[in-house]
Subunit: 306 residues, 2 copies
């Protein structure tokens, strides 16, 4: 079985949406990526850090879903990273209310010995120095996928560019692609980003779907139109996790297979937003995934007459 | 050959975009719809009004493209409808600088006798009373398509609703669908709009594509990712014209065929935005349309493994 190393935050989130609010619940990029990637036939290992306040039951849940958590460092006298945010009425924008880095401030990632030969590495959104640290420990990776945010472009652009140079796939949202490239058109933005290193550029547009760019070719996957979006937190990470998990399980990193991976990522993300935090991701069944896959297939399918 | 009656404005536009500005050029909903619809094997008749200031050469151009212009009333001592607008940097929003109704203020549409038995009627965006007037003159229509705007929802909602009751297809943008239905989710908005009358609801999302809703089924057509959007003016009308023209020519008003019609509409719209006003629409060739059709097919195509 192939190995997939995921680095990212494991966190507490407190979320406010037009539909309600939560106390501190389980969150973090690595958490959402892991929950999504572990649906596939690949050996998923999380690399992260939490404080002594992190509930053992959350770690047990991850193990029960087949994730290796040896790479999650527990700093007993530290506190877990905490993020709190409030979504606006349209759910497309949010305000960050609180960011407490806590144990994340001094995080030095250690990839467990038996995962240093991982075939696929998913660098979830966090400090580019941490992403670089994981890259340095996984020299045999055949596919490296990077997720990042405008925040790192603002404060650590040079280091981030060095990470970008070394990855095969970058996943960012449309505004971030524009910021990174200085180009408004996403077609031109993707070209500039290709020149920075990644052979594949995935631009996430939230409810407007996702674009995959490779060597002049473009693939577009819509988001599934939903009656209700309850909480968008983690949707991008869930997308990335489905994408990475599918590719790791198949071992096929071609453009054609990346299309399928994007559909799976979109599929998982469509579930993620239906409940607060990780709730929906912990309950989805294979039948539900298959049913929704058929909806994705029907959504864009058309035949021109001969 | 089937007949397609199009009612809408024929106008002068003055446009400002980040790429430049124009003096008064040819514009108007019926103009763009006609330019697009006349690419298909259907007999297109425009119903509109212009002033004595409207250049004969524009009318000749329409005739040369096979449009019947007997229904374009020329008010010799009146002035043609004039609209002027400025697009913001992102091209997704614009300010209206000038609106001079002129001859449009007293427009009483007359459908030419030989088009009163038209199979397809395209009600372009203008006052719902005018749209209703055309509907009353085309009792044999098998397919009626309505395009409208938030402006009419603001000031003529009750009359607009009476028009909506009588149409088969409504095409509006996402914000207008939300305004009309009071629902934020487009899935729920489409349900509410179905209940108002139209069996088919097309929601245009500009650069984010278009959705077709029918009886619980959803089809999504992306917009073609473009390197450059030069002037979005008329893109929605061009989309509607391609949609209506394709359906009129085929005589097949099924959901499956509407999917193709939406792809054609998106195809034409992708050309429209490449130049100011109608410029690009006057120059496209069948080869260019076919080439782009292949790009549309490739854009969303994927095969899941068995």
């Amino acid at each position: 079985m192939s190995k997939l190393v995921v680095v990212g935050t494991v966190a507490f989130d407190a979320i406010e949406t037009p539909f309600g609010k939560t106390d501190k619940i389980l969150g973090g990029a690595a958490t959402f990526i892991g929950l999504s990637a572990s649906h596939f036939n690949t050996d998923v290992a999380l690399v992260s850090v939490v404080g002594g306040d992190f509930p053992q039951e959350y770690l047990e849940m991850m193990k029960n879903r087949g994730m290796n958590i040896d790479g999650i460092e527990v700093v007993e006298d530290g506190k877990t990273f905490f993020w709190s945010g409030r979504y606006h009425n349209d759910m497309n924008s949010r305000d960050t209310l609180v960011t407490e880095l806590n144990v994340l401030a001094d995080f030095n990632p250690i990839v467990p010995e038996e995962y240093k030969d991982a075939e696929v590495v998913m660098l979830g959104n966090l400090h580019p120095a941490v992403q670089m640290g994981v890259l340095d420990q996984t020299p045999n990776a055949q596919l490296v996928i990077l997720d990042t945010m405008n925040f790192w472009m603002d404060i650590e652009l040079e280091l981030l560019k060095k990470v970008i140079e070394r990855v095969d796939v970058i996943t960012i949202n449309d505004e971030e692609a524009r910021q990174l490239s200085g180009e408004y058109s996403l077609v031109n933005a993707a070209k500039k980003i290709h020149e920075m290193g990644p052979k594949y550029v995935v631009i996430k547009k939230g409810e407007h779907g996702a674009l995959l760019f490779h060597d002049g070719d473009i693939f577009f996957a819509p988001a599934l139109p939903l009656e209700e979006v309850f909480d968008p937190t983690g949707a991008g990470d869930t997308f990335a996790g489905g994408f990475a998990g599918f590719l790791a399980a198949s071992g096929d990193y071609s453009f054609e297979n990346m299309k399928r991976a994007i559909i799976y990522g979109s599929n998982f993300a469509s579930f993620c937003v239906e409940r607060f935090g990780t709730e929906r991701m912990q309950s989805i069944t294979n039948d539900e995934i298959e049913t929704r896959l058929k909806q994705f297939q029907a959504l864009t399918k058309f035949e021109m007459k001969a």
